[in-house]
Symmetry: C2
Subunit: 661 residues, 2 copies
C-alpha cells in the first residue's frame, strides 16, 4: 500500500463501510453485490487481456464470447432477479455495452409486452435459447428523436397475406441498433403500416434478417456494421436496408393493434402503452450518471492523493496535488455531484416502482410528472456527468489521457447517454412544456400537486407583493433547508421568465409554435433550474434518513458544497431574481473554500465508499493500493507496439529514406 493513500484512509472521520451500505441500499444488498462481483471477478472464464490492447474486431469477438458464457452461467447459478442480472452483466462487461444487450434488454421485453400468445409460442423460447437473436430497429439514418418522421414502410399485401417491408430512401435505412451489424438474425423493425391504401403510423414487425443456420443475410436484406465510433467498440451497431422483404402477416406484433387477413386494421386501445419503458430507461440513466461520475472521481481523487507535484513552499517536498485548492475545487464539487446523483437515482428507481404499482391499479395520475421529471433529470445528470468525467480526466494531467487511466473509456462509454433515449435538449424542452403548462394552471388559480406545487407559491407571492430587497436577508447560506428554498424560488422565477418570453413572442404576432421556438433558450434554462432544485431537495431529503452521526455529518458537508457550488456557478440567476445579495454571493465563495478544506481529510474515504473493486475500475491511476507508477510501467510494456523490438515501419520506410537523403 502506498503510504500516502494509507494515511488518507486513516484520516477518515466516518465508517466507510456504513456509507457503502447506504449507497447500496442496506448491508444485505452490499453483501449480495459483492458476492455477485466475486463470482465474475474470480471466474477464470472471464480473465482476459485489456481490451485497450485489442483491435475492434477482437473486442467484438471477446464481448460475444463473454456474453455467451454469461448466459450459460446465469442459468447455471439461477440468477434471475433483474437487478442481480444487471449487476452480473455490468461486472462481466465492466460497464461497457455488449452485442447482446439489445437482444436481452429490448427484443425479449418487447416480445413479452407486445406479442400475442401465439407469437410468444413461435418466438419467445427460440429467442430465450438464442436460436433467435434479435435487435430493435427503430432509428433511421435520417430520423432519430422524432418518431413520426420514420420512413420505413410495411405494406400489407392481402393476396399473399404478407407485409412487404421497404427502405424507400437512403435516409430511411435503419441505423444505430446495437447487435444489428453482425450478431442478430432477427430484428423488430418499426415501420409505417400501410394497408388498404391507408397509413396507420408506426408499428412493430418481426423480420428475419439472417439465415438461421448459415447466419448469412437473407434476400432483400442489406445489413452490416455502421463502422467505428468514439466508443462502443464492442458493439456492432448496424444498418439495415429492406428491399421488398416479405414477412407473414403473423409477424406484426399484434397484442394491441391488429391487421386482419383481409387487410382491415384495428387500432390499439391506448397510445401510451410504451410510455412506462421510456420513463424506466431514463430513470436508469440517472443512476448511470452517478456511476460514471463516481468512478471518475474515485480514479482522480485516489491519484491526486499519491501524485506529488510542484511546490507550495520553496524547498519543501512536492505536495500531494490534492492539497492544491485549485485541484480540490475541480474534484470535490464533482464528488458531491456524484453523491447527489446517486441519491436521485435511488429516488427515481423507488418512484418508478411505486408509480408502476399505481398504474397497474389504473391510477395514471402521477405519470405525467414522472415523465417530465425523468426527461429533465436524464438531461441534467448526463450533461453534468459527461462534463465532469472530462474534468476528472484532465485533473490527472497527462496520465489521464492514457487508456491506462480508464478515464477515456469511461467518457466514450458514457457520453452517448446525452444523445440516446431522447436527445438532451429535446428532453429539457419536454420538461419545460410540463413546467409552462403547470405555471399556466397555477396562474389560472388551479392548485398543483407534486413537485411543481411551488409554482402555486410563486403565484401567491405575486398576488401579495413583497419588496424584493426584503427577501435576501432570510436566506441562510449555511442551512441546507434555506438553500433548497432559494433553489425553488430561482426555478419559479425562471419558469415565469420562460412563460413570459412565450407571451411576448406571441404579442409579436408569432404563432404558438414559433413563440415556443423563439423561447427555447429560456425554456431550457427553466428546466435546468427545476432539475437543479429537485436534486438539491432530494439530497437534503436523503440526509434526514441517515442515522449514523459521522456519516450524516460528512454527507451534510457534501450536500452543502453541492448547493453552494451551484449557486456560485449560477450567481447571475440568484442576483437577478433578487434572491441573494452581492455580499451573500461573496460569502458563498468564502464558505465553499471552507468546505473544501473540511472535506479534504475525507476525500479518499468518500470515494472508497463507492466500493469499486480494482477489477471493475480497471484503472492504473485509480488503484486501491495507490501503487500507480510501477503498474503503469508494467501496463505500458504490454502495449501491442512493444511486441516487437523494432517496428516493421523502420525497415520499410526509415532505413530506405536515409539512403535517399
Amino acid at each position: 500500500m502506498n503510504p500516502d493513500i494509507l494515511k488518507e484512509r486513516q484520516s477518515a472521520t466516518f465508517d466507510v463501510e456504513k456509507l457503502t451500505h447506504i449507497l447500496d441500499g442496506g448491508p444485505e444488498k452490499t453483501r449480495r453485490r459483492r458476492e455477485i462481483e466475486s463470482l465474475v471477478i474470480n471466474d477464470p472464464d472471464f480473465q482476459h487481456e485489456d481490451p485497450n490492447f485489442m483491435s475492434r474486431s477482437e473486442r467484438y469477438d471477446l464481448a460475444v464470447k463473454k456474453s455467451a458464457q454469461m448466459i450459460l452461467k446465469l442459468r447455471e447459478y439461477g440468477i434471475a432477479d433483474p437487478d442481480e442480472i444487471y449487476c452480473y452483466k455490468s461486472c462481466v462487461h465492466r460497464d461497457r455495452s455488449a452485442p447482446l444487450d439489445i437482444h436481452l434488454g429490448m427484443f425479449l421485453p418487447t416480445l413479452l409486452n407486445q406479442a400475442t400468445p401465439e407469437q410468444m409460442d413461435r418466438f419467445f423460447m427460440a429467442a430465450w435459447n438464442l436460436e433467435i437473436i434479435g435487435t430493435y430497429a427503430q432509428t433511421e439514418m435520417g430520423h432519430g428523436t422524432h418518431l413520426r418522421g420514420l420512413e420505413t414502410t410495411a405494406t400489407y399485401d392481402p393476396a399473399t397475406q404478407e407485409f412487404v417491408l421497404n427502405s424507400p430512401t437512403v435516409s430511411s435505412i435503419k441505423w444505430w441498433p446495437g447487435g444489428l451489424g453482425k450478431t442478430s438474425n432477427h430484428a423488430i423493425v418499426l415501420a409505417q403500416l400501410h394497408t388498404l391504401g391507408n397509413c396507420h403510423g408506426l408499428h412493430a414487425f418481426i423480420v428475419p434478417i439472417r439465415n438461421m443456420s448459415t447466419h448469412e443475410a437473407l434476400p432483400g436484406i442489406v445489413v452490416g456494421d455502421i463502422g467505428p465510433k468514439f466508443g462502443f467498440h464492442e458493439v456492432d451497431n448496424g444498418f439495415l436496408k429492406l428491399e421488398n422483404v416479405r414477412i407473414p402477416r403473423e409477424n406484426m406484433l399484434m397484442k394491441y393493434a391488429q391487421v386482419e387477413p383481409d387487410g382491415s386494421y384495428a387500432k390499439p386501445p391506448s397510445s401510451k402503452l410504451t410510455y412506462g419503458t421510456m420513463v424506466f430507461i431514463r430513470s436508469m440513466i440517472v443512476g448511470e450518471s452517478a456511476r460514471a461520475l463516481s468512478k471518475s472521481c474515485t480514479i482522480a481523487i485516489r491519484y491526486s492523493s499519491v501524485r506529488h507535484q510542484s511546490e507550495i513552499r520553496p524547498g519543501e517536498p512536492e505536495p500531494q496535488i490534492l492539497d492544491y485548492q485549485a485541484q480540490q475545487y475541480k474534484l470535490f464539487p464533482l464528488l458531491a455531484t456524484a453523491y447527489a446523483f446517486h441519491f436521485v437515482g435511488q429516488y427515481m428507481n423507488t418512484t418508478y416502482h411505486r408509480i408502476t404499482g399505481d398504474i397497474s391499479q389504473g391510477d395514471f395520475s402521477e405519470l405525467p410528472e414522472l415523465h417530465a421529471l425523468s426527461a429533465g433529470l436524464k438531461a441534467f445528470t448526463t450533461w453534468a456527468a459527461t462534463a465532469g468525467i472530462e474534468v476528472c480526466r484532465m485533473s490527472c494531467g497527462g496520465h489521464g489521457f492514457s487508456c491506462s487511466s480508464a478515464l477515456p473509456d469511461i467518457y466514450v462509454t458514457f457520453t452517448p447517454t446525452c444523445t440516446y433515449e431522447g436527445e438532451n435538449t429535446v428532453m429539457m424542452l419536454q420538461t419545460a412544456r410540463y413546467l409552462v403548462k403547470s405555471y399556466r394552471q397555477a396562474q389560472a388559480g388551479q392548485q398543483l400537486s407534486g413537485i411543481v406545487s411551488y409554482l402555486n407559491e410563486a403565484e401567491q407571492r405575486r398576488v401579495q407583493p413583497q419588496p424584493v430587497s426584503a427577501r435576501p436577508t432570510v436566506v441562510n447560506i449555511n442551512d441546507l433547508a434555506s438553500l433548497v428554498e432559494v433553489y425553488k424560488l430561482r426555478a419559479a422565477k425562471l419558469v415565469e421568465l420562460a412563460a413570459k418570453s412565450i407571451q411576448q413572442e406571441l404579442q409579436h404576432r408569432k404563432s404558438q409554435e414559433d413563440a415556443w421556438n423563439y423561447s427555447a433558450i429560456e425554456l431550457v434554462r427553466a428546466s435546468d433550474a427545476h432539475c437543479h432544485y429537485v436534486v438539491v431537495k432530494l439530497f437534503a431529503a436523503k440526509l434526514a434518513e441517515i442515522g449514523d452521526t459521522a456519516v450524516h455529518s460528512v454527507l451534510s458537508t457534501l450536500a452543502l458544497l453541492y448547493a453552494l457550488h451551484g449557486i456560485a456557478q449560477n450567481s447571475g440567476h440568484f442576483l437577478q431574481a433578487g434572491l441573494l445579495s452581492v455580499p451573500q454571493v461573496l460569502q458563498v465563495s468564502v464558505r465553499i473554500k471552507e468546505l473544501l478544506s473540511q472535506l479534504r481529510p475525507n476525500a479518499v474515504p468518500l470515494v472508497d465508499a463507492f466500493n469499486y473493486q480494482d477489477a471493475m475500475l480497471q484503472s492504473v491511476l485509480g488503484r486501491y493500493d495507490g501503487n500507480v507508477y510501477e503498474n503503469m510501467f508494467e501496463w505500458a510494456r504490454r502495449s501491442p507496439l512493444n511486441r516487437t523490438e523494432v517496428h516493421e515501419s523502420y525497415h520499410k520506410y526509415l532505413k530506405p529514406l536515409q539512403s535517399k537523403l
Copy 2:
C-alpha cells in the same frame, strides 16, 4: 449539391472569398495555401484508407510512411519557409500528430539553439538526413509541469570523461516524449547534472538509444511505447529507462553551460534562454484552438443545414435543425468564438515576431507581458475549444458519435493541448501572478504599460470613488467599444478581489505561499476574466482593419454575439461588480436572440469562409456538397467488420451456445 446547402450559400450577405483572404492574412497567402494543399491532396502517394478503419500499429505505420515521403517531397519542391512546411505537414497528416514531429519540431531546433559548433558538425547533418532520428525527453512518469522535480541524473565521471545517466526511481522513467517509443535512435535527455559532488540542475544531453544499423535498443536502455491513449494513435509516445548509460562528455549540449574535462562547471549566462520557445509554442496553440473549433463548427453547421428533424409547426415538413433557436444557441456563439480565437492567434503570432525582433536587439521589456499573456490565452482558448468541440459533436445527434463525423478525432487530437506545454490551471496561475504583481505595482502608484495598464485606471477610480449605481447606465450593450470597457472593468474587479483574498489569507497568519494556494479559485477566475477581456478587445480591434462593408458588418455581429454571450454566461460577475444592472442583463438575453436570427442566413457562408477542403476535414457530416446520407452509407460499408459477411465469433460462440441451451 444538396439543395438545402445550396440555398444557404445563396443567402450570404457578404463575399466569402474576401473573408477567407482576411483569415489567411491576404489573397496571396490564400493562393499559396491552396497551392500547397493541392500538392498534397492531389498526390497519389498520399491517398490512403481512412485511419479510423486501421489498427493502431497500422496507423503508426502509415504515419511513418507519410512522414518519410513528406521529407523527400519538401526537399524536392524546395519548400523551406517554416509556415509553408507547417501547412504542408498539416495537410499530409490531416492535422494529426506524427511520429517525426518531435524530431523536426524539437530535436533539430534544440541542436540549432544549444549545440556548440563542434556538436553541430557531429550531429546536425546526420539528423537533417534522418540517420539520427531524435526526440526530446523531458517529462518523467512522476514529473511534468514542475521541471525542478525531474529525477533523472547525469553524473560526470572525470576518469573516463563520460556522463553516467540513470533513472534512479520508477517515477523518474522518461514518459510521453513523442517518437521515443519506436521511431527514434537518439534522445535529448533532460537530467540533473552532478559533477564533483555538486548538483547544477537540469541540463540537456544527447543520448544514443538505439543501434544505428539494427535499430535495436542499446545496452542499459529500456525503451518502448507507453501504450494506447485517448488519441494520438499515430504517435509512439514512449518511455525511457536509463541504467548506467555512459555518454561522452561532448554529448552534453554545451553552447551555454559547460562541464570541463576535469569536471568543473561553468553556468549559462542567463536562465531565460528557452523562454522564447515556450512562448512561441503557447502562442501557436491559440491558433490551433481556433483551427479545431472552426473545423468543428464547419461540420456541425453544415450538417445542421441539411439535417431535418421534428416539427416546429404541426403538419409542415421537418425543418432544418439549424432553424431551432436551441441549436443556434449552441453553435453560433462557438462560431463567434472560432473567429475571435483566429484573430487572437494572428495577434499572438505578429506580437511574438515583433518582440522576438526586439529581443534580438537586446530589448526584453515586453517579454514578461507576452509570457503571461501566452500562458493565460493558451489555457483560456484550449479550455473553450475543447468544450466547444464536444458541443458541436453532440449538436449532430447520434451521428456525431460516429467516426465518420470526424468530430471524435478532432476532440482527442485537440484536448491534450489543455495539458501539454503547461497544464492549464498552472498556466492560469502564472498569468495571475503577473496580474497580481501588476496590481500591487499600480497600488503603489507605479504607471503600468501594455495590456495591464487598466489596473492603473481601476486604482484611479478607487481614489475618486463614484457611486456604484451611477456606472451601469453608461454601458451600451449594442456598442462593442462599450462592452470592451465593461470586460475591462470586470477583469480589474476580479484581479482586485484575488489580490484582496491573498491579503485576507495573510491576515489569518498564513505564509505567502499558503495565502496564494488558498486564493487559487479567485486567481484563476481573475486570469480568466483578463483573457476574456483581451479576446474581446482584440476582436474589436480587428474590425477596425476591415475595409469591406459587408464583411465588416457580419464580423461585427459575430463580435457582438461573442461579447454578449460571455456576459450572459458570467452575468453574476457583472452584476456583482455593479457593472450592469438587472434590466441590462435581461436586455442582453433579448439582444442575443436577435443576433442569432441575424446570423442565421450567414451561418453556412461563415463556415465556408474557413475554407477547409473536404479532403482536409475528412468528415461525412461536414461535406461541402451536403450529401451526407449516401456517403455515410458508403463509408459504413467499408468498415472492417463488414469485410466478412459472417463474423468468426458466430461460429466460435453463438452457434455452439444454441446447442447448450
